[in-house]
Amino acid sequence: MSTTTNFDGRSTGYLPEGADINRNIATRRLRGKIWQTLFFSSLVIGSLALATLLYTIIDDSFGYIAVQTKIDPEELSDRPLEELSKEELIEILRANISAGLFRRFDRDEPFSERSKESVLQLVEERVIGREVAAAFKLTESLLERERIEATVRERFPRAELEFHSWINREFLTRPMSSVPFLAGVGNAILGSLWVIAITMLLVVPIGILGGVYLEEYASDTWYYRLIETNINNLAGVPSIIYGILGLAIFVRALEPITSGAAFGVTDSNGRTILSAGLTMALLVLPLMIINAREAIRAVPQSIRQASYGLGATRWQTVWHHVLPNALPGILTGTILSLSRAFGETAPLIVIGASTFIVSYPDSVFDKFTVIPIQIYNWTSQPGSQFRSIAAAAIIVLLVTLLLLNATAILLRNRFKRRY
């Protein structure tokens, strides 16, 4: 074997020589390639999982539906219903529903006081009775149109086929309903926003203050270390445990406060938005403290020293240097906590969020529902239409989370500082 391929032609004795050099390099490169492939394949697996999720959701959220009515609107009147007067609509209603039902509607709200829109809605719901006889997924709608048309013609001769997006404006604003076609997430979105608002109102200040104390003030003694360990562990406790805690403390023990009874609110129990917000606050507080501490710790020590060196007190150093420089990181942590609270379901089920509720919340002492609970509820119902609205609600949830994260990134970049 040649030993003269080293640059100066000298043999070292303990390093590969001659052709061995190339063989050695080839082996090392191969090893690198294998690892690179492994890293890449994990990325592929992740992307596939994400793509499957998105595909399933979108597949369920759009597609053909076969809509049929009890009576063709043209049989009721020779003009479009929208153009009829209120009195004509009332007559149609009287003629087509039972007298008892008609009296009940009149008792709920006298027809003389109802608006034309309200009467029109009753006619549409009770007389025409638009209902979805069958729903199809996006893929089959696009690829097998003829088969769908044939099936619908055969099984629902009176039905009309139309392309429907389950996520639409009505879906976003309407409350819950037992009919999937009429159900919406309007009150769930509002409920989620209320709960998040209470959670953030509590968690952001407490989390930042706690983080500052632990990082800048607390000395390295056993009880602070104990607190630290506890916080880190609490961040990993299953969320249902927090639900049980919230049920015991906020729903039961503090019922006079969380139900609003102490503030003069009647006919309410402890299962309110306030209880939910407080429980969520407990749940994400450890996360928030940990994130705030990370952000504070990332502020270079040299900045603190410069500040102290000029005669700044600890508080002045924290206020003028540590907090402003930690702000981007704290914001990121805030959004992470927010996203967590937004998507969390289990603790709210335990503390008794309503799964079926048609009213919109308008105070913290109201009963409520949130988007993930609606999703959970709908996915557990039989029928493909519930699956479709669950998928639509998932899109709402994902888009909201994406928007929140985008805001976080924008804010972080805005406040980003150079050291």
Partner: protein, 272 residues
């Protein structure tokens, strides 16, 4: 120290020869004895250089003079550090006041991520600045001129201090220290991250500052110590890794006729 010596030192303090005086100072980090029995009187309006190999405790001693070691958990000091005849480690002394009167410039330039103007004004503001905007402008100019950087930054006072070059940043840090009008400035290896031209500028600057301030500088660079300082203190660690003061005297003496063999070895580059 004998009674007579102590008396002489106290007289000197009263007459204002010494700006700062360390008496039998021991410094500990937890159970680690980092610096052993340092007694070091530092003369007013002179430049005193601390030299010695890495880990010999010279930075630790420097940071003890304005109580920066307080920020390190577990750090403790025995003995006295006298400033105006008063031990700054007495319980009734507030470290915040000590640090305002004994300023510090750090090894790595550490301007705040704020404008140059705000960097200078931060010290005065946190210490209860009550002047007008015009007076603030004047103070900023005076501090920047004092640190020989005015001409380079006067047109970009409201740009971030972190955008300057390394040498400029270090002079900005010196200007920032000057703005609170300290009596003593502690300088910890100010040129270790700088190029030779920036180093020269900082050295010239320190020579200027000597007229109004007492300067204590830690340096690895023996040429620098011999060029700029009036007094030199040589530190070395002993077999327990504790820093000790080996020799202290006028710079010329230390560099031409050291009394201790170890000083001579270090100066002539035989170790360290």
């Amino acid at each position: 120290m004998t009674v007579a010596e102590r008396l002489r030192v106290n007289m000197a303090q009263a007459n204002g020869i010494y700006a700062v005086e360390l008496q039998n100072t021991h410094i500990f980090y937890g159970s680690f004895h980092a610096v052993k029995d340092v007694s070091l009187p530092i003369e007013r309006q002179k430049i005193t250089a601390f030299i010695g190999p890495s880990g010999c405790g010279k930075s630790t001693v420097l940071r003890a003079i304005n109580r920066m070691n307080d920020l390190i958990p577990g750090a403790r000091l025995d003995g006295q550090v006298l400033f105006h005849g008063k031990n700054i480690y007495d319980p009734d002394v507030d470290p915040v006041e000590v640090r305002r009167r004994i300023g510090m410039v750090f090894q790595k330039p550490n301007p705040f991520p704020k404008s140059i103007y705000d960097n200078i004004m931060f010290g005065p503001r946190i210490n209860g600045w009550r002047g007008t905007k015009a007076q603030a402008d004047e103070l900023v100019e005076r501090a920047l001129r004092g640190a020989a950087i005015w001409d380079e930054v006067k047109d970009k006072l409201h740009q971030p201090g972190t955008a300057l070059s390394g040498g400029q940043q270090q002079r900005l840090c010196i200007a920032r220290a000057l703005a609170v009008q300290p009596e003593v400035i502690l300088v910890d290896e100010p040129c270790s991250a700088l190029d030779p031209i920036s180093t020269l500028k900082i050295e010239e600057l320190m020579f200027e500052l000597r007229r109004n301030y007492t300067i204590i500088i830690v340096t690895h660079n023996m040429q620098q110590a011999s060029r700029v300082s009036d007094y030199t203190a040589f530190f070395l660690m002993d077999s327990d890794r504790a820093g000790q003061l080996i020799e202290y005297g006028p710079t010329e003496e230390i560099f031409t006729s050291p009394k201790d063999k170890r000083t001579e070895d270090y100066i002539s580059g035989r170790f360290g």
